[in-house]
């Protein structure tokens, strides 16, 4: 097993210039900065329209120090295939290809291309940063917006449907590596990227991204809110390595502790959940408890 990276052993080389165009307190800025450190210099990035397009800056100035191809919304994973094919035809074997797309670009419009690339087994890392909505266009609902969240186009009733489980969809493609991470646990993200970089085929990493304007909280609480999602057992950190599911990092520790923070605290930390009634919260708490009862049982 590889040693866990600490803040002291994290590489100091930066691939994101300071002063990006992300909002204050943006979770994506953290995940991207650390994620690129894990990927390292010999990487070509692909980015569809999203907050990340904005974060990277306006022509001719870019905040990213790695080569990056901006592509159309639905084509991210296919573009990764294209770059891989070009590199292969040029005999370049040392360059990694990493696609970074939002949840809308992944769970909705980009799902077909992602499924196609994964089915073909194309050798790249796909990172979906999940801020649970179409933030770049003003925080509308996406496939991964959770039930109960107010968004710009679910303005009064909140989203009525459940969050789409993209890692599970990817698991159905029998990938070598799938992981769920959070911007609030950047070192865990770093280690997971490093772990899978040389694994075969398509690797899928899902990253929960607290987003102050989209979720409705004071920017200073972003890390805390991302952690609450994990500590309440609402969003789990895990890996699926060659089909083997395993909770990791903070979520793994929660199994030992056998104690979750009530999910109510998570919901009450963000204005997007303000219409969620106590009865609905109780219902979700029930689902979380049932899920965790399963984890505990596995652990016994």
């Amino acid at each position: 097993m590889q040693a866990k990276t600490t803040i002291l052993s994290l590489p100091t080389q930066e691939f994101v210039h300071p002063g990006t165009r992300a909002c204050t307190g943006c979770g994506l800025a953290i995940a991207y900065r650390v994620g690129l450190k894990a990927l390292g210099k010999d990487t070509i990035l692909i980015v569809p329209p999203s907050c990340l397009t904005v974060l990277q800056g306006l022509f001719p100035i870019a905040s990213t120090k790695l080569p990056c191809l901006n592509v159309t919304f639905a084509s991210t994973a296919a573009a990764a295939t294209g770059i891989l094919a070009a590199l292969k035809s040029q005999g370049k074997t040392n360059i990694k290809v990493a696609a970074w797309a939002g949840d809308g670009g992944t769970s909705d419009i980009g799902l077909q291309a992602l499924s196609g690339a994964a089915e073909r087994g194309d050798n790249f890392i796909y990172l979906c940063y999940d801020n649970e909505g179409y933030m770049n266009t003003g925080a509308q609902r996406s496939g991964t917006t959770p039930i109960g969240a107010l968004t710009a186009n679910t303005p009064f009733k909140g989203k009525l449907q459940q969050k789409k489980d993209v890692p599970a969809i990817m698991a159905a493609h029998n990938l070598s590596y799938i992981a769920a991470c959070s911007a609030s646990y950047p070192l865990d993200l770093f280690d997971k990227i490093r772990k899978c970089v040389d694994m075969p085929g398509t690797k899928y990493i899902h990253i929960h991204i607290p987003c102050p304007p989209g979720w409705g909280y004071d920017p200073r609480y972003g890390i805390k809110i991302g952690r609450l999602a994990v500590e309440t057992g609402y969003y789990d950190l895990y890996e699926i390595v060659n089909g083997e599911f395993k909770l990791t990092a903070a979520s793994e520790k929660l199994v030992e502790k056998r104690k979750l923070i009530p999910v109510r605290e998570y919901f009450r930390s963000q204005s997007r959940f303000k219409i969620l009634a106590d009865t609905q919260i109780a219902e979700i708490q029930h689902q979380i408890d049932a899920k965790w009862a399963g984890y505990y049982k596995k652990d016994e």
Partner: protein, 399 residues
């Protein structure tokens, strides 16, 4: 080497000879035999290329866009709804200035479903910033693919090589397959000014503002409008570069002609039929018939549709009594797109000179409706009597 093969194979052989690095394609009739053939070349080892069997046409062009951005010579092909499904990517490839070559095997678009030939698919992509070439026979298909790579890479603009579904794609004709050494002499490996690579990081196709903007060194960089203006300017210049391509090609392969138009008995003709693709060869039969009747007609194929060879066309048509534009596509709500473009060219170059021909538009062959040579002959004969209608005249219609 002379062989007898179908038009799709002619295209595939062109791709093989051009040593394309990355091919991505999704099946659609009547393009399928072309890309199947390419997969055979790659799987058998005859061709050193990556063949990506993508899950959609949108992704086919995505693969080409990305591979081309990383320095690979790329190819895809499609028809009808496949091309329409690509539309976002079609525009993107041109804006990103990638020299992708795509064969469009012309077919009618839905709804309703129809797999037969017309040209609504490629005509509907007229304004995307791609160069469009139209072929009239199998020799032109294979030659056009080879010329297209040279031209596309010279001007950094993608090219559609269009040819009629079934009429060309599935019929067998003799044609010459050029020697590999000659193709290599004509076309050197693709070496773009920039290809994505970690040693020279660049962020391509980023958000670009309406106005120009200073870079970190204080130099002014283009705004979106400058980038798009240059696409237009370089599209126009590519007319000249196409002539250069044609000349180079003729020098090496010993065949070729006018890069833009293909006239048949036009010099002394009073009436000229104009069209795109195989139809113009069928029209030659009508021209022969009418010539025997003493009617001075000719036919002119437009080989290059975008950029539009307005000057060449106006020059060739000036002083004629009438021009009859036959089209297998429409700009719904008006008339054929080619006739509109042609009238605009004639107006620009000939207005007030007294040598402006009358122009008539004939719509035919939509959705594969049989085009009978007698009907073409009759339509030409009628037009030569100057019975010009301002509206497009449909022939073969059974209403």
């Amino acid at each position: 080497m002379h062989i007898i093969e179908n038009g799709n194979v002619a295209a595939a052989l062109g791709v093989l000879l051009c040593r394309v690095n990355v091919i991505a394609a999704y099946p659609i009739t009547p393009q399928t035999p072309l890309t199947e053939r390419l997969s055979e070349y790659v799987e058998s080892g005859e061709m050193q290329a990556e063949y990506i069997p993508v899950e959609s046409e949108h992704s086919a062009l995505a693969v080409c866009i990305a591979a081309s951005s990383a320095g690979a010579r790329t190819f895809t092909a499609t028809s009808a709804n496949g091309l329409l499904y690509m539309h976002e990517q079609v525009q993107w490839a041109a804006g990103a200035r990638l020299p992708i070559v795509m064969c469009v095997v012309n077919r009618a678009v839905g709804a309703p479903w129809n797999v037969w030939n017309d040209q609504q698919d490629s005509i509907s992509q007229r304004d995307t910033g791609w160069i469009q070439m139209y072929c009239s026979d199998h020799q032109q298909i294979i030659d056009a693919v080879i010329k297209a790579y040279w031209l596309a890479e010279k001007v950094s603009i993608p090219i559609m090589v269009c040819y009629d579904g079934y009429i060309l794609s599935h019929t067998y004709m003799p044609f010459d397959v050029p020697d590999q050494e000659k193709v290599d002499a004509f076309l050197s490996p693709f070496r773009p000014d920039y290809a994505l690579n970690p040693d020279q990081p660049a962020n391509l196709n980023t958000v670009t503002l309406p106005d120009v903007r200073m870079d970190v060194r204080g130099e002014l960089a283009h705004g979106y409008m400058e980038i798009r203006y240059l696409l237009q300017e370089e599209m126009r210049t590519s007319l000249t570069v196409a002539a250069e391509a044609e000349k180079r090609f003729a020098d090496i392969f010993g065949r070729g002609g006018d890069p833009y138009i293909e006239p048949y008995l036009c010099a002394d003709a009073q009436y000229i039929a104009v069209g795109l693709g195989s139809l113009t060869y069928q029209l030659r039969v009508s021209v022969d018939v009418l010539r025997k009747e003493g009617i001075k007609v000719g036919v002119m194929g437009v080989r290059f549709y975008r950029p539009f060879p307005d000057e060449a066309l106006a020059e060739a048509l000036k002083g004629k009594k009438g021009v009859i534009v036959f089209e297998k596509a429409l700009s719904y709500g008006y008339e054929g797109a080619l006739v509109s473009d042609l009238k605009s060219a004639l107006y620009d170059h000939l207005a007030g000179t007294g040598v402006m021909p009358m122009v008539q538009n004939i719509i035919l062959g939509i959705g594969g409706r049989d085009i009978r040579t007698e009907d073409l002959t009759q339509a030409l004969r009628a037009a030569a009597k100057s019975r010009v209608s301002r509206q497009p005249v449909w022939i073969g219609l059974k209403l």
